[in-house]
Every structure is written in C-alpha cells, then in structure tokens.
Symmetry: C2
Subunit: 390 residues, 2 copies
C-alpha cells in the first residue's frame, strides 16, 4: 500500500424526492444567483427540469439558464458560460444532467474568477486556485463527476479531450434521485455502466501490492453494478436497481476505491481520443478499449487477472494453467458488455485503421512519453491495442 | 434502499512517516495554540509522542499537554480539559491515541465554547452548535473515531456510558501511520479488530431490503480484517497487515458502509453498559455480545444470516436447511474471535448473572423502550441474550 491522502468534502443527498431540497440547500451554501447549466432537452421531458425550477422558485433563489452542453463537452460553451456569469453576477453554478454537464459546469466555475483562458487549466498552463461553488442534480449515473475532483473537456481546435483533476473541483453538494434516471434509454444506461465499471477497473489493475481492502471494495462494486444493470434495462422504473447503479457510479469515482493504489488510466486516455475523433459515447468507447487493453497487458501480472476472473466473475481457477483463468475473465467482461448492448470493436463505432496512428500520437501528446501505469504503453503498444480492438 | 445523506469532511493522511506533517497541517487549519490530549504513557515508549512534539516544534506551534485519558473515557477529565483550554486560550485540540482519547478530545472540543456542562450533550439536554477543530494521530485502529461523528463518554456518577453523534464532531484531519501500531499488544490488536468488525456488522444486519452495494462493501471489509489480523498478531511489524487493518477500521466507521441502510446497534448499546459496569475492553465486550445477539435474533431473517455465512465465511449453503448455514456462520464468527485470543463469554470477563437485570435496565434507559432496530429488544430480550452469553 502506498501513502495516500483521502478527502472528499462533497455532500451527497440521495433518494426519492430529494430534488425538492435543492433551493434551500443552495441558499444554505450561500448561493444567491445561480447559473443553471444544462444539456439538451431530456430534462424537460422527464420532469427533472420542472422539479429543479420549482425548488429554486420555492426557495426564492434567482437564476439564469444556459443550455446546450453536449456529450464530450466543449470549451467553447464553457467560455460562453463564464461570460454569462460575469455579466449576471452569478455566484453559484448548478449542473443538471450527466457527467458532461457537470464537467462543463466545473469548467465554468473555475473559469469565472480566472483572468486568462479557462483552457489553460486543461493543458497544465495554470492551476485553479478558487472557483464558484458547484452543485449538481445528477440524471445519468456514469462519470462520477458528482463527487469527483475531475472535469474532462474537449477543444474542437485540434480535437483534444483533456482531463483536469484538482481538489478545488469537488462539488459542494450533489442530489441523486434514482427516479430521475427512469427515462434514461437503454443505450445510455449501458454506456453509464461501462463508464463506472471502467473507473473501478482503472484502479483495480495496479502494480501496488497489498491493497486487499481496496481490491475487495472494487470487486464488490463491480459485482453490484453487473448484478443490477439487466434489471434496470428490462424494468427501467425499478427503483432498487436504479438506486444500486446510481450509488455505485458515485462510489466508483469518489476515490474511496483508490486509496493506497496507483491506477492505470491508459484505457481512459485512449478512449478520450476516440471520443475526440468521432464523438463516440465515452462508455461505449471504454467497452471497446478495456477488453483489448486487458488482452494486451494481462501477462504483466497474470495473478491479478486470475483474481479478477475468480472474484468478480466467479470463474473457478485453473491452478495448473492460470493464464486460461485470466483469459476467461477478460472474455467474461467482453461478453458482459455485449450482453448489455454495447459494441466492443472499433469497427462497430466507426473508427477505422486509418486513424490508429493519429490516435496513438494524440494519447501520448497528453501524457508524456508513455500512457498508463500498470504497463507503460508506447505509441507502438497503443497501436497494437487498437489492432486488437479493431 | 432508504434515502440518505453522505458527508464526511475529515481529511485522512495515511502512511509511513506522515506524523511529520502534523505541525504544518495544524497551521494550515488555523491552529495556533494546541491542547495535546493523551492517554497513558504508551506513546512515550513507542516514539509517537516524540514524533508529535518534534513536528509541532518544527512548525512553531505552541501547545499544552493533558494526559490521563483511560479506556471508556470519563467526563471528569473532559471537564478538566475544557478548563485548561479556556485558561490557556487553546484554539485547536489534538488527540494522540486510540478511540478513547479521540472521543475524549471531541468532548473537550464541543465543551469549550458551551456555557453549560458538557455532559448535557451526551444526555440529549443540548445539541453542540460549534466546537474547536480537532485533529488526531491514531495509534489504535478500532473505534473509527478518527473520521466519525461519534464520541462515547462515561460518567462515573451512575456508571453511564453514552454516545453523542453529531456532524460537528468530524475531525478536521487525521493522521494514520500504520507503523505507530507496531507496538500495540496482541490483546489490544484483537480488541480493535472486534470493534471494527462490530461496526460493520451493526450496519450489516438491517431490515432494509435492496442494499446490495453496501452489503458487498461490508463483506469486503470484514474479509479483509479477518484475513490480516493473524499476520499482525504473529508479525507485529508487518506493515501491510497493519495498514490493511488500520484503513479497514476507518472505512468501517466513516459511514460509507452505512448509506441507504438502518443499522442495528443493540450490541453496542448492551456492550456500553458492560464497559460501564466493569471497565471491560469495548472490543472484547463486543466479541462476547455479538455472537449471543446473533443466536437470539437470526430467525428474524435467516437469509441475511445465510448470506453472511456464505459471503463472509465461504460456508456452502445448505439450501434445504438454510438455518444450519446461518448457525454455522455465527459459530464461525465466535470461533474467529476466540482464535485471536478474545473471550466470548460473560463469565470470562467477570460479569455474573447478578448484574443482568441492572444491565438490561440501563441499556433501555439510554434508548427508550427497546434497543436495536433489526429486532427491537425489550429488557426481557436483553436478559435472554446475556443468558446466552453467560
């Protein structure tokens, strides 16, 4: 186990009917003028928008709205949001949506008190020192951004997608009502599940030894997610299944699964560039890349992959040929992704071999000479993983 | 799953050599004059005291010391600590020790800004509104007080032991260096393990349905603790085993295992009165009471006890006679407690049948008409549990 610090100050308000607490909670956190940051119109169809506005009005909190955050949120919209905040004297940012809306809101929040261009933070040119407080009403369990210190943003000029991790980014509070996810279509439900599973697996595959507690917490989270997603897909209004998935998505990324470990994150870095190239849904991109990454790296620590197969998928270990057990675990993961309707091949998500060189170069441009920690991948390695996934 | 709020603002600094960060961290949290709150002399023997004082001196933080916190900390010492703080203009409380020292420090911290007697908070006569900030350097992994909102204090006038739970009690930060636990004697190591396992099990045995994620997180934590304690007992300076146990003790009680559930806590309430009567070590008292409580209540939800036996102890389910599986799980727990050197009978810890009536009455005096949530125990039920444990 390596030394670590754990701090997660985000307050979570979880359960049925909790959106009604929003306005009062914003006031309790000192918000007087709110930017309500939103995506497309889905929250108008499922009633979440009305619940949000009713709660703000009931509490007497004034607000302005900014619509239009897309999946793989763009820095351009963030810059516009910053201008709105400055013009309207906004002192509190509220994200209503999924990870893209929340990541975008975090960008606005750090950008308002900063003199330069907000993109500076995402390319490491500056570090955020402060931000406007952010709250979230989560509608898509996936990214974990509701209690994470991360924001991932895309810049169309160059098709770069870059993560920013900083303690200043933790939301003040997040409201998670599983009923707000009842109308989430099967494809988005599945993508969300792949994303949260990837968050756990990025942490799981580590070179740090003696991380038993967090290993087991990771396995517990993966099993819970997989055990509930098919219920959520076949019975979209099953509260219990939606609730297990929603809370798992937060636990997967609030850092409790990460303590004492060094995660890998190569699959995320590769996927970010797939999304930047072709607007691939992040979760589906991960369902493509993760099994391929595993097939490429498993020999680096076969016993860790045996443990994954054994404890997560209950695959009986072949003690004489553990490699077979390891491979069965990887197959089980890919089979699971396909069983919930996700692609696991690049050809199925419109990314051809002609893009492989460019993707490999761009992954490394954001991460120095190699990508990942479990195995440090060169551009050649990344191309081989893309070959496996093609 | 029931609606819940999760908030745990305590910063954890975990690992080898981290006590050296103490002084700077106190300064970063605004502390200028510190009450160093301590137990007996063990921290002088194992070097922790010197590390603490060196770090405070290096950072130029002034301090006064208060020694003498005993297991089952007394309100009398807390009152004395409050007086010292007022006289010396202390603005920051540092607990160096185990759960008793930390619980006592929290009592001092809420008492200083309060006009009345600090015991008011423990008997529900007043609610703490504010406190001095508290930091901890943990030396006994057990109570989880280092990142909990709890403080349990004993009043010798009447031999009452009472818990106070309030969000104001979260420490500002806690330093956990597993090396500080190397000198912990086997008995205290085992008592700590029983305490943290009880914290998990109090949460595990719930009537709330569909709590799969937290069920699995609880099972992961129990397995990790049990899997490491024998190594820690036979190799007291095994860093990895000490680290797994230390971090498990925090996770067991930082509320992440509790979300969406309603815990039981009858065993804790009964044990508190054992400790108040006879200064029993809290962990050993729990090792006595918990298996007896289980034997008395398991028929209330046999399948939950089957799940416990199956997932925590890998006992194969007897599908035709699941009750046998449930009982095997309870036996396995009791066997485990005995295997690490703990008593599991009241007669072994000096509590005779003549005390049973008084204990039952005192448990209910603190908790209204019944104790516990999984099964609501009357005084008659509590006496029967004590009979099973005798």
């Amino acid at each position: 186990m390596v030394n670590f610090e754990f701090l997660n100050p985000t307050k979570i308000i979880f359960g049925k009917g909790t959106i009604a607490q929003l306005g009062d909670e914003i006031k309790a956190h000192g918000g007087t003028k709110v930017l309500v940051h939103l995506g497309g119109g889905s929250v108008k169809k499922n009633g979440v928008y009305d619940q949000v506005i009713n709660s703000l009005n009931a509490a007497g909190v004034s607000f302005v709205e900014q619509w239009g955050v897309r999946p793989n949120p763009r820095v351009k919209l963030i810059r516009e949001g910053i201008e709105i905040c400055r013009k309207e004297n906004v002192d509190f940012i509220l994200a209503v949506g999924g990870g893209s809306v929340i990541d975008s809101a975090k960008g606005v929040a750090v950008g308002v008190p900063y003199d330069g261009d907000v993109w500076d933070f995402y390319i490491g040119k500056a570090e955020p020192k402060t931000k406007l407080p952010v709250a979230t009403v989560l509608t898509i369990p996936a990214a974990g951004s509701e209690s994470s210190w991360s924001s991932v943003v895309t810049n169309d000029e160059g098709a770069f997608k870059r993560p920013l991790d900083d303690a200043v980014l933790f939301p003040a509070f997040s409201i998670l009502d599983p009923e707000a996810t009842y109308t989430l279509p099967p494809y988005q439900t599945a993508c969300g599940v792949a994303d949260m599973m990837a968050h756990v697996m990025e942490r799981y595959f580590t070179n740090i030894q003696h991380v038993e507690l967090t290993d087991r917490l990771c396995e517990a989270t993966l099993k819970t997610i997989m055990n509930n997603v098919k219920t959520a897909l076949s019975e979209p209004e099953n509260y219990d299944a939606r609730a297990e998935i929603m809370w798992s998505g937060t636990v997967a990324h609030n850092n409790i699964l990460h303590m004492g470990r060094i995660g890998d994150w190569a699959s995320h870095n590769i996927e970010h560039e797939l999304s930047a190239v072709n607007d691939v849904a992040h979760g589906e991109g991960l369902a493509v890349i993760f099994p391929a990454w595993m097939k490429y790296v498993y020999k680096h620590d076969i016993q860790r992959f045996v443990q994954f197969a054994s404890r997560v998928f209950n695959i009986e270990n072949n003690f004489h040929e553990p490699e077979r057990t390891a491979l069965k675990g990887i197959d089980a993961l890919e089979t699971f992704f396909r069983s919930i309707g996700l692609s696991t091949k690049l050809s199925e998500i419109g990314i051809g071999e002609d893009k492989f060189d460019m993707i490999a170069v761009k992954v490394l441009k954001s991460d120095g000479k190699t990508a990942g920690n479990f195995v440090k991948l060169t551009a050649g390695d990344i191309k081989k993983i893309l070959e496996i996934a093609k």
